[in-house]
Symmetry: C2
Subunit: 195 residues, 2 copies
DNA sequence: ATAATTATAAAGAACGTTCGTTTTGTTTTC
DNA sequence: GAAAACAAAACGAACGTTCTTTATAATTAT
């Protein structure tokens, strides 16, 4: 089956580039690096991707889609609002622990460097979805009444920061252990007080 | 005055590179770009900096020192703890508005890409200083008792996030207008409740 | 069913550019 | 006239991409 073989090599390119771009930066990874790392010829790589930029494009789209799906199902299956928030934290923390290169690629790579019409990370699909969720909760009166971007920053800011601390190896252990404590802090900052 | 002329051209290189690295990314800015942008020859640039990497190194150190000083004086002159926190926010927001390229360079540039033994942003001097401040406040019982890195994330995470939203032009206006609202949120998450 | 043909997949050398750096030379400044 | 400041050409290496060739698999014809 040639199709299967094709997909396998494409996956090999995908995985190596995700890892290498995340670790070394897009500009520091050349076609010859990719060729060595995947044990494929440059010709083979160009057979599957028409340019280096297309690889990055593909990584970006795939990563975005994956994260969005994970968050979506987590939020939709949550019992209440606090659980939904917890789910978001845990999904992102889980991805950080189990697929760190994906997370590094998404959060660290300056996509503007190679994607011509770059949408900043914060305008990407997963974050747009979360923003909508927050907007709804403010309208419902669950969250304190404030600018949605402030609320979004109060929620996502600390989460992303912890993830970065983990990726920079400042935090050495599994960050899922911090989820509850972080959730407490975030909750205090945005949930409306009970009277 | 030859020394003065030297410092002027060095400053010209400094300022153009700060702006250009921040906007286009270190790897996308070549010596020929710098030469054009500064109206200096490549030889002149190499007379002042022994390598391209040294320029980035110099920018990094200068920016770090500048931010640290601004934060230090702001915190030391604050009347109380809440004011200190507010000062940190306002100093960083002010820098974002008045020196956006410096802020972009510090927050966006992947320093690991060109600085061999890269210390992550979070371990940089200004952030270390803030971490110490937070640690003290936890010990004093001013902040809730929690892991210092969690507290640090709850404080710095939202601030940095707002700054990024501004730099990505998602937030269009002066972010200092959001300082109070952000401070409220952050305060709720970390200050110990009064009984 | 086997042979011929055609796509597909992969290899690797070669191309033209651009990169950071070096070298050599010229103009200033004291 | 010596040192400092700048200019500009040239260097080798590395870059992304293209081109030509070869092996393998799939399809068709006999």
């Amino acid at each position: 089956m040639s199709r299967k073989a094709t997909n396998l090599t494409k996956k090999k390119i995908f995985e190596y580039c995700m890892k290498s771009f995340a670790e070394n930066g897009y500009s520091n990874v050349g076609l010859r690096n990719i060729s060595e790392g995947t044990k494929l010829s440059i010709g083979a790589i160009y057979y599957h991707f028409s340019s280096k930029e297309k690889i990055a494009q593909f990584l970006y789209d795939t990563a975005g889609r994956l994260i969005l799906n994970e968050i979506k199902t987590a939020v939709e299956n949550a019992a209440d609002d606090r659980e939904a928030l917890k789910s978001i934290i845990l999904v992102l923390f889980k991805l950080t622990e189990e697929d760190p290169y994906l997370m590094k690629y998404v959060l660290y790579t300056k996509h503007k460097d190679f994607l011509p019409k770059a949408q900043p990370i914060c305008s990407t699909k997963p974050f747009e979805y979360i923003k909508k969720f927050i907007k709804a909760k403010i309208k419902e009166g669950v969250f304190e009444d404030m600018d949605v971007l402030i609320a979004s920053s109060l929620i996502m800011g600390p989460i992303i920061r912890i993830i970065q601390l983990r990726m920079d190896n400042v935090l050495k252990g599994d960050i899922r252990l911090y989820a509850e404590s972080l959730l407490d802090g975030i909750s205090r900052s945005i949930f409306k007080k009970q009277i």
